[in-house]
Symmetry: C2
Subunit: 371 residues, 2 copies
């Protein structure tokens, strides 16, 4: 294999696929999982990396003198290409010596190659079933829901996000059973609606790869239990989670006894201060008293102290007193960009709805805890 390409474009492609390079535990199974697979074909090279759960591929233009494949240690490959001088890099494998020579400017480096035959390469899915969604829409859906997933993988349904294409909408929902985030947006009409359970981890990676530079379309295809996302010259493949996502629409209460409208920033700042005390306690709980057009937000811990905040608001309905995990409140407030936030409650232990004022497209449900 021998090719020459833009060093900057290669650095960028390595940064993308590197997100799928395995952690140490997989590398101990086979060193090839710590590598980046390179395939040079006429006019272009493709990089691939996999950690078994997620596979990422990125391609770029190259002048290929000799087609071929190689696997290089991701760690050294990325650091060396980044530190090399000049605009252009040439990479030549020496199969007899099991190494590859990287040359850029006056700089030359030889890297040991790993066995390319052991690398589990992958292809984009055939793409009979495809949907297209704008990157900004997709990124926004991910950001506003994925944080509500369960962090552990013991119950894969709860660490996945329910992605639905409706007749002319796209939505995501995520829940760890104690809270639910649901976000909907407009999308191109589709013939037959579809629901997929996509691992939250996969969506987090996608969202770090999607740049904010140029608007782009993401093509989503699926095939049995796998999903493929492609954009620009990148594609990612992941398994889909099997099973039945909870019927979350039933969890969202239709009526409320108390409706509160409060300045988002004032509430978020107050919650962040009270959290400093709350997080020292085992359950990280903050109390909220909604009464007399004020929210009293407080927490105390005998070893540390106590924090009290009063935030002005407008309250329609009965006064009510609840206790909520402080992270569950601050997570949603980070994602509300309207001036006012609406909090709707029924009873001390029934689900609470938090959303941007008047929003039907973004809804968050959190279950309070005992005070």
């Amino acid at each position: 294999m021998k090719f020459t390409c833009s060093r900057e474009e290669l650095v960028h492609a390595i940064q993308i696929v590197q997100k799928a390079v395995s952690s140490k535990s997989n590398i101990s199974i086979s060193p090839v999982f710590g590598g980046i697979f390179i395939r040079a074909t006429e006019g272009s090279i493709e990089l691939q990396a996999t950690n078994i759960e997620i596979n990422i591929s990125a391609s770029l233009d190259a002048t290929v003198e000799e087609a071929g494949v190689a696997v290089l240690s991701a760690r050294f490959f990325s650091e060396i290409v980044r530190k090399m001088p000049g605009d252009v890099i040439t990479i030549t494998t020496n199969n007899k010596e099991n190494n590859a020579i990287l040359k850029a400017g006056n700089s030359s480096c030889t890297l040991v190659t790993l066995n390319a035959d052991d690398f589990p390469t992958f292809k984009p899915l055939a793409g009979i079933n495809t949907f297209v969604v704008k990157d900004v829409v997709f990124k926004d859906l991910i950001k506003k829901t994925v944080f509500a997933c369960a962090q552990d993988d013991t119950r894969p349904i709860f660490s996945s996000v329910c992605l639905e294409f409706g007749s002319d909408t796209v939505s995501m929902a995520a829940t760890n059973t104690h809270r639910l985030a649901f976000k909907k947006d407009k999308a191109d009409p589709v013939a037959s609606p579809i629901t997929m359970l996509v691992p939250g981890k996969m969506l987090k990676e996608v969202s770090t790869i999607l740049s904010d530079d140029l608007p782009t379309d993401i093509t989503i295809s699926y095939e049995r239990n796998r999903i493929c996302l492609s954009f620009d010259r990148v594609f990612l493949i992941s398994r889909l989670v099997e099973g039945q996502f909870p019927d979350y629409k039933r969890v969202i209460p239709r009526t409320f006894n108390t409706n509160v409208l409060v300045d988002t920033k004032e509430l978020a700042d107050a919650v962040s201060r009270v959290s400093l005390i709350a997080r020292e306690s085992d359950y990280n709980v903050i109390k909220f008293d909604f009464e007399d057009d004020k929210i009293h937000i407080y927490s105390s811990n005998p070893d540390v102290g106590a924090s009290d905040e009063y935030v002005n608001c407008s309250i329609e309905g009965d006064p009510i007193y609840v206790a909520i995990n402080s992270n569950y409140v601050s997570d949603i407030l980070k994602n509300i960009y309207t001036e006012k936030t609406e909090i709707s409650l029924n009873q001390t232990l029934t689900p609470i709805r938090i959303r941007p004022e008047g929003s039907e497209d973004y809804i968050y449900i959190v279950t309070p805890v005992r005070r």
Copy 2:
């Protein structure tokens, strides 16, 4: 104790003294070591923190209604004051309840106080022997020498910096026995020259506290085995290291067989790339061949690969081949700001001098290792 002060100034003072707050191991001796001591006197408050090795004090203006003292957990005090709203903060202790109430805007927080009687407070040194040095000069001396100290404290002399006031100069020298950094600058004339061994850790903290905003003078006073640095409304006290610093001037060779002049940035970039391979080996060694107006810089490791760099230079004298710890080279190159760097050598295993071209004020000596 009750006072009101600027929240921003308080945040700044906390940030300064916090650098001396103890690590966990001291806090386990007594929780008071994890605290910040506050003393309110007429018109001002003083904060103090100590980790036994270093004591830091910072003062600021305040409207003091009731003089007194208190100790608050550094961790909570700093985070809460930083997150509170508004320009002004009022702190009131409640001695019966063993707590202090912090109020700013609508925000209120109660923090448990620690026992102020247990806090080892300190005072600035009497200051019979004082020297004055400009902050930019002092910061530059620290930056260019302290990295050459030994990192462990087993031999305190080698983890200290030798600070000397000569008739009209100030200098610092540091060595871990394998390398030496020496930097000298002009200073106000002093009556009697003095040499002090100041712990490197102390100087590192000083240098992070010295802001780049306004030029300021640092007053250095000493008293038996202690040193006090004061500037603005801050002072730091540390013990001095006792013993005899090596006679480093004798280590600096007077003549060299080979003199090399090379572009600093080209050399630094090449060393940084070869280091990627070198640091995978136990001794982190890079080889340098000085020959034919080129430096060949290289390292290899059978498990990873090899890196070769050629940097143009001018060589006067004999060709020479040496091996050096890669960190020992990159550390000095980070501190050379002249276009050209001068490298002077005698034999393969004799000390090498590296310095900015022609400099007599900044000199670095490194001992090569066997190739």
